[in-house]
């Protein structure tokens, strides 16, 4: 099922399907890209940022940024 990264549950995994606009270039250098496996490591409360794991890296993204990344979530 496709979901916004910001809506993924804690612990969920999936494959990145698309990244909107120039965010694509911005996060490319950090290893976040289309067809990459991504895991939700933590979500902070009150619209706080998420922390995702890609390969060996942990990256924190503001929720508004995470909204622009679409992930095919695994069951």
């Amino acid at each position: 099922m496709e979901k916004k990264l910001s809506e993924m549950k804690y612990g969920a995994q999936g494959i990145v399907k698309s990244i909107k606009g120039d965010l694509r270039n911005k996060v490319a250098g950090m290893g976040i890209r289309v067809n990459k496996r991504i895991r939700m490591a933590t979500k902070q409360p009150i619209k706080g940022p998420v922390v995702v794991t890609v390969d060996e890296s942990n990256i924190s993204l503001g929720l508004g940024i995470a909204e622009n990344i679409i992930v095919e979530v695994e069951k």
Binding site: K26, G29, G31
Partner: protein, 174 residues
């Protein structure tokens, strides 16, 4: 001749810089410690070379002021050698920046730093093969203990500028 130390934030550029120039710039375990460039000198053979510790950047499309400094540094020094420092445990995204720098036509040497942590994590990198594919010197280093730094310095004069097409051919052709 100038040497630029470039790479992602927090990969150990400043540790390498301190090692090869004897300087004392701040090393910390968070991205964005170095926000302005620092100069130092190293003697290679008979030549005294200027070494620059460049702020870390994730790509050549800067997203903040510190990254801007890094990209400008590269643009202003097209003829210098770039020592591209990669965190071996995050080699894929490290190569992203390395390829970007190669595409711009700079002469490049790649340092695979944090080799100790990669070993702990059971990540095996075929250095020789990587060297063949990229066509530039590749040296594993552990900056904190100094391992590989001498070798890295000795390879600086062997830095070459390669065409990205040739990298594409090398990787496709096997």
């Amino acid at each position: 001749m100038r040497i630029l130390l470039m790479g992602h934030p927090n990969v150990g550029k400043s540790v390498v810089f301190n090692r090869i120039t004897g300087a004392n710039v701040t090393e910390s375990n968070y991205p964005g410690t170095t926000v302005d460039y620092e100069k130092g000198y190293v003697r290679i053979g008979h030549e005294e070379m200027e070494v620059i510790d460049v702020p870390g950047t994730f790509s050549l499309e800067p997203k903040d002021k510190a990254e801007e400094v890094a990209v400008k540094m590269l643009e202003r020094n097209k003829d210098s050698v770039v020592v591209c420092i990669i965190d071996s445990t995050k080699i894929e995204r490290g190569l992203y920046l390395a390829l970007e720098i190669i595409e711009r036509g700079s002469r490049v040497v790649v340092a695979l730093n944090m080799w100790d942590i990669a070993e702990d994590k059971n990540i095996n990198i075929d250095v020789e093969k990587l060297r063949q594919i990229l066509g530039v010197p590749v040296v594993p280093t552990i900056a904190v203990s100094g391992e590989g730094i001498k070798e890295l310095v000795s390879r600086i004069s062997g830095a070459t500028s390669v065409k990205i097409e040739s990298v594409m051919k090398n990787v496709g052709g096997s």
